[in-house]
Symmetry: C2
């Protein structure tokens, strides 16, 4: 950030009144330009067949991590809720219609200035297909998950939490809510 997005003047750095952190400040129009973490919202889309649960993953057609597998997700937009963001990203990246159920996990990635949210979701049907940002979309049972081909560590943890909870549920538990800080 070098120029004021409001008036175009070159920015300076300083600590505003009542603040204790250096910020980008415009010496011309006096606007303070804050920078804040972004929210990434993903779904964990599941499909139940007899005794097996499968999860829908997408193979990335974009950088970073081109060619690696991920859960459908992306940056939350203005004017939508976190749940709407999960549904929208699942439609865009995997062409899939889902019913969103619980918020399942919140992960902090302070190094990347991101907070990741994961929603449990049930596929309405198997008419999914790769969107423009995906090379391939397919269902994976737990045994089939390509653990060494996953795009991001948050995806690995979300899937790990999911399968751990499923085992507990078979013994009478419930899906939990999982928080994790990936401070690296």
């Amino acid at each position: 950030m070098k120029f004021c997005s409001h008036c175009g003047h070159a920015l300076t750095i300083g600590i505003p009144p009542l603040d204790n952190m250096p910020r980008h400040i415009c010496p011309n129009c006096h606007m303070i330009h804050y920078e804040n973490p972004k929210i990434v919202v993903c779904s964990i889309p599941t499909w139940e067949t007899e005794n097996e649960t499968s999860i829908l993953l997408c193979r990335r057609a974009i950088t970073p991590r081109h060619g690696f597998w991920t859960l459908p997700g992306g940056f939350m937009e203005n004017d939508e809720t976190t749940e709407q963001a999960a549904r929208r990203e699942t439609k865009e990246e995997a062409g899939a219609d889902v019913r969103i159920s619980n918020l399942f996990s919140l992960m902090n990635l302070p190094v990347y200035h991101q907070v990741h949210l994961f929603y449990l979701a049930q596929l309405e049907n198997t008419n999914f297909a790769p969107g423009e940002e995906s090379l391939e979309t397919r269902l994976f049972t737990e045994k089939e998950i390509p653990w060494d081909q996953l795009a991001f560590s948050t995806i690995k943890y979300a899937l790990k939490f999911y399968f751990e909870d499923r085992k507990k549920i078979q013994n009478g538990g419930n899906f939990g809510f999982h928080t994790l800080d990936l401070t690296k």
Copy 2:
């Protein structure tokens, strides 16, 4: 947003490749300037005495809602986790040291481009005092909560969820995790 924060050139509006939403685009350096929701993190700081639980509220010394009561909270910063943000804001606004426990609530405010998070927190001591953004800080029992003097509807819902859960806990329940969309 009128000027490119990277090169200072006037921005245009268009739909970038692989996108379906109009964005601010720089015709000079080609940077796309996304705008995303911000995260507000609050704590619900409690103090236990005999059979009574009190909650620490702050009376706002700043706009909006100057003079109204709020839970300590504010915008999450880069390079911190949501829990660190809750602890920092509680220290800044109420001079209070807390142990953060569960994430208690997530509320969407799409109209304001915000997501609010609330953490349960236990005061380490009663040496709290108003920070620069507060006129007054004090403990309130449930009966004393100034319901018609609360600064924001999210604060009202967070306190409502808290006291409802406490009643359940007296009958053997647990604090839940509460999500709410305030679409107005």
